[in-house]
Every structure is written in structure tokens, then in C-alpha cells.
Symmetry: C2
């Protein structure tokens, strides 16, 4: 048994089932070990950002890590933008990154770079294996560390010689650390804030947005009058008919400030304090009112489930929750398509327990608003703001949940960052519908250009924000990678194509001209 085989046996024993792979020469023993175990599903990705984004989507839905298998510093570098999103999502994720043989690094061969520096940028926990046996031990530790704090990134750097030299066997499986419990005194303090009669917002993220916790939060809201507001970009929000609804903080600073105006207590549950996504001249970065008391009940890494259960008891909120969503899905009239109409049609047609991945930028918001009363579903947002996450995350979510339909809302500009992911959707027959919003521009930047006070744009300036000349043809791109594709410019066309796509397993892309 070599080091690679010992590592793979350890990872499989630790419960890891899927590997999103883009390997190179230094990972050939790992590739071989994956092929030989027969108990690890390899998913080939044609770009590393697809692998990391897929592992993020998988982790959010499976609540356990998938692997990425990546190649040296420059390959790992390609994965970083979606590692960033995964980090912000609190996704459990284990990176296995091959590097040169330990004795080869001194020669500074062309592919040599400071891989540990990149690993540290992305990861909560990093280990450069020191021997073949250490490699297996690092694998066991990585799976546990990736599940610490309800999910984070653990990276193992694998020098090629440690993969190919003999190892004594698999390492012992390590239990994941238990999330820290919230102290009783903090529960009591939070209860008294909620019962103070002053305007209070529970600001929510992480596991607070799962159905059971939303039910508890709905009970608390019913008993105390607190508002429930969630992060702008939640990692996984369970919503739709029959579930307790939350307000979503607006994206733009001035609207967010307005939404929080008058709040005297802002209590954080699984989310950091609300701040502006970007700074703007003469606009606030800190979004809560200046005199609002901001306190933390639980961070994203704490035991949120138990904390909310205790809080329900502490405020005597065992009754029915408020804010339960009623089903409603009116059919729109025919006419030219836009983002809001796409949302309305989605609300009408989306099957129960769909997973929506939102990399839709300006058009994602309309779809979000209009699906509020749709069948229950999970909404996965762009947590870190690094666009190009949708197609990969849809791949990962589809593999984590093969019995659920995945709908990916994808902006044209965003899609182009990881368009290669369409091929993996086709290869894996992933049950996904990619709704490609084609408005032929980086629309958000046209808005932001004005908001930052950058002056009157000329044609040259605007050329840096538009996606025409030439027009991108996403049906042609999708077909070039083996994905069924069609184009819709009207409500009727979109409704027909969406119905067909939802009824037919496997990947589809609908290019929505908006």
C-alpha cells in the first residue's frame, strides 16, 4: 500500500464519497487510488474553479465534505475564487492538492510555487504531509477539521513522493469536533433583550436558516414581536410555502440602512453584523443604526440548534410560529420576458424541494422575490460575492441530492467565469436546469458606476461593462459541451421550455433573453 492508497482508504472510512477532480502529473497515484477504491465517485471538472464550486454546493446540501483533487500551486490558484465563496458559506470542504516531490522543490522547477501560502489564504486548516503515513493521518484530521464549526475548509498538501512511497496503512477516523454550546447566561440575556419591548431584529445566517430553526424563530417572533432578517447572501435558506419566512437584507447600503432603521437591539444568530457589501463615497459601511445595541447569540460555528431551542423555552414561545408562508403562484400573462416574470414562472412550476442556486446577479433578486410563496425549496446564494459559482454549485448540489431538481439562476457575465462546468453537468447527467439570464451586460456595474460617483461615462468606459459585440450565444456554448439548450424571449416560450426541462431528467439550459 502506498501513501495515496492509505489516504484514500482513510477518506472513504471517514465518510467522504465524492471527489471533484482536476488532476495533473503529481496526482497520478491519487487518481489511481481513487479508481481502485471503487468507493469514491470521481467527478472530472475541466477547470479547478468548477471543482471547488461543486464541492461548495455539495457541502451546503450534504452537510459533509466532498473532496477536491487539484494540481500544484497554479492549479489550486484557479480554485480560489470559489474557495472564497465556500469559506463565506461555511461549507465543509476537503482539498487534496498534489505538489512536487518533497526533494524536488529545491530545484524550483517551472511549476513550483508557494502552494502553502495559497492554501493558507483559502483554508481554516492546512497540513503539508511529512511522510506517507502522515498523509493518511492528515486525511483523517482534514475530514474532522472540515466539519468543525459547522463547516469550513481543510487542505492537505500532498508531496508526490509521499503518495508513491510505501505507507503502513490507513489512519484512524477522527470524530469531528462538537460545535461550542451557547452559555445559559447568554440565552437568558438574549431572552431579556427580546422581551424588552424595544424594536428588535434577529439577524440570521448559517444553520439558523434551516427549516427547524426557522420554526423556532417563528415561535420567538410570535411571542416577542422580533423581526427576522437574514444575510444578503445566505449559504442555504429553506423557504417557501409552509415555512417561516424571513426578510432578506437589501444589497445596497442605503436600502439596508433603511431596512434596519429604528432597530434598538440587533441580535446575531449565525451571521456577522450587517455591513455594506462595498463602500461608497458618503455612504455608511456599518448598517445598523448608530445607537442600536448589537449582540451575538451564536456565531455560525456555534451550536445554533440547541441555542434556539433553549431560547424558545426562555421566552416561553412554545406556541405556533408567526410568519408562516402561504402558497401562491399566479400565472403571468404572455409578453416579453424579464427577471421578475422568470421568478413568477418558477414559482408556478418549481417542484417541491427544488434547490435554487442563485448566481443571477441583478436578475437573481427578482426571481427571489417572486418565489417567496412557491413550493418549499432551498435557496443557495453567492455568499462570497465571487461570481461564477452557480454552474459549479449546481453540479455539486445535484450530486449531493440526486432526488431533487436543481435550478441554477445564472447571469451571463457570471456564467462565463466557469462555463466549463456545463460539460461536467452533461457528463454526470446532473438533474439541473440552468436559467441563463442574457441581458448582454454586466448590469450591476452599470448601476454601480453611477452609485460610486465616477462621473459621466463615455463609449469607451461603457465598453468595459457590456457583453455585446459580439453577442454571446449560450445555446451554442451549451451544445458544444453536450447540454440540451433552448432560448426564450417571451413568457410563453419560457413556460414551455421550463416545463419540458423540469419534466426531463438531466441537464438543460434555457437562455432567457431579458
Amino acid at each position: 500500500m502506498n501513501g495515496a492508497e492509505a489516504l484514500l482508504e482513510t477518506l472513504v472510512a471517514s465518510g467522504v464519497e465524492v471527489c471533484f477532480a482536476n488532476p495533473g502529473t503529481s496526482e497520478m497515484q491519487l487518481v489511481s487510488a481513487i479508481g481502485n477504491t471503487g468507493r469514491m465517485r470521481p467527478v472530472l471538472c475541466l477547470f479547478e474553479g468548477v471543482a471547488s464550486g461543486a464541492a461548495d454546493g455539495y457541502g451546503r446540501m450534504a452537510d459533509k465534505p466532498a473532496l477536491t483533487l487539484l494540481h500544484v500551486g497554479s492549479g489550486f490558484a484557479n480554485s480560489l475564487a470559489n474557495q472564497h465563496n465556500a469559506r463565506r458559506a461555511g461549507s465543509p470542504l476537503v482539498n487534496i492538492v498534489g505538489d512536487h516531490a518533497s526533494y524536488h522543490l529545491q530545484y524550483d522547477a517551472p511549476l513550483t510555487s508557494d502552494l502553502p501560502a495559497l492554501a493558507a489564504w483559502a483554508s481554516a486548516w492546512t497540513k503539508v504531509a511529512e511522510s506517507p503515513d502522515d498523509l493518511a493521518a492528515a486525511g483523517a484530521a482534514a475530514v474532522a477539521e472540515a466539519q468543525a464549526e459547522n463547516g469550513r475548509i481543510a487542505t492537505v498538501v500532498v508531496p508526490a513522493d509521499h503518495a508513491w512511497n510505501a505507507a503502513s496503512g490507513a489512519a484512524a477516523v477522527q470524530p469531528p469536533p462538537v460545535p461550542p454550546a451557547v452559555a445559559d447566561t447568554l440565552i437568558a440575556q438574549t431572552a431579556s433583550r427580546l422581551q424588552s419591548g424595544r424594536p428588535t431584529v434577529l439577524f440570521l445566517g448559517g444553520r439558523a436558516l434551516r427549516e427547524e430553526n426557522l420554526y423556532r424563530l417563528g415561535q420567538i417572533a410570535a411571542a416577542t414581536g422580533a423581526r427576522l432578517v437574514c444575510q444578503v447572501f445566505p449559504a442555504r435558506l429553506q423557504r417557501g410555502a409552509g415555512r417561516v419566512a424571513v426578510e432578506r437584507l437589501p444589497y445596497f447600503a442605503e436600502q439596508a440602512t433603511e431596512a434596519l432603521a429604528g432597530t434598538e437591539h440587533l441580535i446575531l444568530v449565525g451571521a456577522p453584523a450587517p455591513v455594506s457589501f462595498f463602500a461608497y463615497p458618503d455612504k455608511a459601511s456599518w448598517l445598523a443604526p448608530a445607537d442600536c445595541e448589537v449582540s451575538t447569540l451564536a456565531t455560525a460555528g456555534d451550536d445554533i440548534d440547541s441555542a434556539l431551542e433553549a431560547l424558545v423555552a426562555a421566552v416561553g414561545a412554545s406556541g405556533e410560529p408567526s410568519l408562516v408562508t402561504a402558497a401562491e403562484a399566479p400565472a403571468p400573462e404572455d409578453g416579453p420576458l424579464d427577471g421578475l416574470l422568470v421568478g413568477q414562472l418558477l414559482a408556478q412550476h418549481m417542484p417541491e424541494d427544488a434547490i435554487v442556486v442563485d448566481d443571477g446577479a441583478t436578475n437573481g433578486l427578482g426571481a427571489y422575490l417572486l418565489t417567496e410563496r412557491a413550493s418549499r425549496h432551498d435557496w443557495l446564494a453567492l455568499t462570497g460575492g465571487a461570481i461564477g459559482q452557480g454552474i459549479p454549485a449546481a453540479l455539486g448540489a445535484a450530486i449531493a441530492c440526486p432526488d431533487r431538481k436543481v435550478i441554477n439562476l445564472e447571469a451571463d457575465g457570471s456564467a462565463m467565469y466557469t462555463i466549463q462546468g456545463l460539460w461536467s453537468l452533461a457528463r454526470e447527467k446532473a438533474d439541473t436546469v440552468t436559467i441563463l439570464f442574457n441581458n448582454r451586460s454586466y448590469a450591476i456595474l452599470n448601476i454601480e458606476l453611477e452609485r460610486v460617483g465616477a462621473g459621466e461615462p463615455n463609449a469607451s468606459t461603457l465598453s468595459m461593462l457590456d457583453l455585446s459585440n459580439p453577442d454571446l450565444d449560450f445555446t451554442s456554448l451549451a451544445r458544444g459541451m453536450g447540454v440540451n439548450a433552448s432560448r426564450a424571449a417571451t413568457v410563453a416560450e419560457f413556460a414551455t421550455q421550463l416545463t419540458q426541462a423540469l419534466a426531463t431528467p438531466g441537464p438543460h439550459l434555457i437562455e432567457a433573453m431579458v
Copy 2:
């Protein structure tokens, strides 16, 4: 005038003419300043790796830096793989990377990350601007620093508030540092090694591979019998009919060891000592014979031109050079296409002073060998080994040299890393022919799997190395991004399509089924 305008005015005054851009919200003032100068050509790229690869290709051909304009840590991260290639190429390159406003970083907003850590990974020189005026000064310094040592990477991090706040004006242009001269004693020592009568190799990279220096090296070879051998992946090799030819070190360690067997003096001129690209079990990392004396005449950052001129004089080599390439371009017979036949057809049809970008992996080598006696041309190789460099570098080279035809040899697997670059080729009407070698696999990895001794592969293992299921259709991908495309499976088809593509300005893609 704001900081962004002061920076742009400084960069323009410093001679920078082109900006490969993929901006976001924090760069809106910079976008506006570029649009307003009218003296900086903005080239929009749909992915940051296209921008950095294009700047690399531009820098290799223009011998001066282009800009990239990139967005915060996660955007810059996407550029790193091609930054790595540019670093290994010794390309002059200036990155302008926007970050959050300086006062906004403390809030750890979703897009916040350690951008300076990534900048340090990629760059020889990095500066985080400390004020609007410091921003302009940093720009002037960056252009100079990027031209130090014959070309390197300089990165300016631009906090958004320093871009939008008032600045007092442009900064003074800074002259680039002069490359260090090689000492006379070292010239004399090298001359005596060359005249020792012992088997000697001049091992070449960087500026040693430019036509004038190759002429000098040919003179030295004629006078001393030294062999001329270049790096496996030269940044820019001027070759073809009428030029002094060099041997290219083989890629695989055992072949490279064989090529250098018997060498007693190995003299480095613009290249590091030859080492194996990867380590393999039981194969050498150091490629020169154990008893070979390895010495350095000049590093890539030294004044190589003057050193070689002095060396010619020191060995009394003012006669005609040896190794001058004779023209030869036999026409192949019709039949199924392969990589060697593509090379033969290229040799036959390639116009004078073509620029060949080689991201062709296993098929690039055949084309290289068969074009040895073609019309004179520049060959740009994958210096850092990070695949996905060809399409972007072709874009940059075409913009640097609008009067020359650019031919990009692109492997299917490699192409998919930065396939978005085709759109920029179309938008810029870049005079390029992309020859897409479609063999439906990561062919090099199938070779390496055996070479690293990873055992007998099964179907699952092989699935991680193949690009079929589904087949990629590159003509469909190209057309989806506005690039003319055709497919060739035979010598006759390829010859017809190549002739047409070379005769018609603008971007073309020929999918060569090999």
C-alpha cells in the same frame, strides 16, 4: 482630479498603452479614468486568467508592460495561473487591482480577503497605495519595476477610496532600472571554459533566444564547437529559416539526461540550470551529468546582449555563425490528420514573422519539430506549465503586433481553462488562427500515469483523464463567442482551412481532429 485619474495619467505618461480589464465595483473610478484618457486601449476579458495571460503575451512581444485591471482578492486569484506563467517567462506586467476602501476592510465584508498575500505570491514587487497621491507614485514605480531584470511582475493594490478621493496630480515618470552588467572576469572565465576543448553546452533562455543574440551564439558555436541548447519552455524563441538554430531540451527527464550526457561544462545564459519538470520515482531531478561543471554567465535579469557581444570578442568568434537554418517546407500527402502533419502544413503555409503560441501539450511538440525550417517566426512556450495560456497569450501578442499573424496551438484540455478568451479575440478582431488539437483526452496524463508507476488503470481511473462523454465541440464553442470556426480531419481539409484562415484577417479557429 481624483486618485484614479492621477494614476492613469501617470501610467500613460510612462508609456503603457493597453489594459486587459475585468473590473468590478471597486474599480469603477479606474474604469472611468481609462475611458476618459482616450490614450489607454481597454480590452475587456470575461475572466481574469484571460487578462493576465494576455498581458503575458503582450509583454513577451512588446518588451514593455501592459496593465491588467482586476477586482479584489477573489478576482485577482482567478488571474494567478497565468501570472505564474508570466513570472516564469520574465514578462513585464503591471497589475492594477482594486480593493475595498481602506476604512472598509475592518468590516470584513463578504468580498474581503488577504489580497496582498496573493499579490506577493505572484509579484516581484507589490505596493498597497496609502493615499490618492501615493497611488500615482505607485503607478510610476510599478512601470519601472516591471521592466527591471528584463521583465517581471509589479502589482499595485488600489483601495477604492484612494481612487475616488482628490489627488494633486500625476506622478513623475520613473526610468526602468538598467539590467546588471556581467563582469569582465566572468566573460574571461566563460571564454576559457568554451576554449577548453571539453564538451560544452551553452544552456539558453530569456533574451539569449532573440535573433541578434542567437547570431552571436552561432558565431561562438562556430569558433568553439559548443552546443546551443535552450530551455524546454522558452518564453520567446526566434527561429526559422535564416536564423541560428538551437536544440531544445526534451521534456521527459530521461531524454533530457540523455541529451546532456557527456557534457563537461554547462554554461547558463538567461536560464536556470536544467531540472526535471516533475520528479518521478527512481529518475533524476538534476539533469546535467553529476561531474559536469555548471556555471552562470548571465541570469535572465542580466544584460545578456552586452555579455554575449563581449563573449564573441573574447573567444575571437567574429566569423560566420554555424547552425544557420535552411528553409525547407515539403508538402505532405493527403490522409488522416495528426500533430506532425499539422506542423508540416504550418511550415508550408506560415507567413514570415508569424508568432506561434504553444499551449498544444503533446501535439505542440510535433508542430515545433516540423516547423524548424519554416519561415522565420517567434515561438512562445508555456513557461510555467500552467495550462490555459494559449488563447489569452495569442490575444495579447496580436494586440502587441497588429501587423503579424498569430498562430495559437491549443490542446483541447488546455483550451477549456480559458476558453472565454475566444470572445475577446472576436471583440478585438485579433488576427489569430487558433489550431485546436482535439484528441478527446488529457493525453499527457495518460503518458504520465504509466511513467509514475501508478499501476494498471481501471475504467474509473481512466475516466479522470479523458475528455469524451460528452465530446467537446469546439466549433460550437467558438461560434457561441463570435469566432469563425471549422473542423478538419484530413490533411486536405486542414490545408484548405488554414490557407483561408491565414488569408482572412481576424480570429479563426480550426478544430484539428487528431
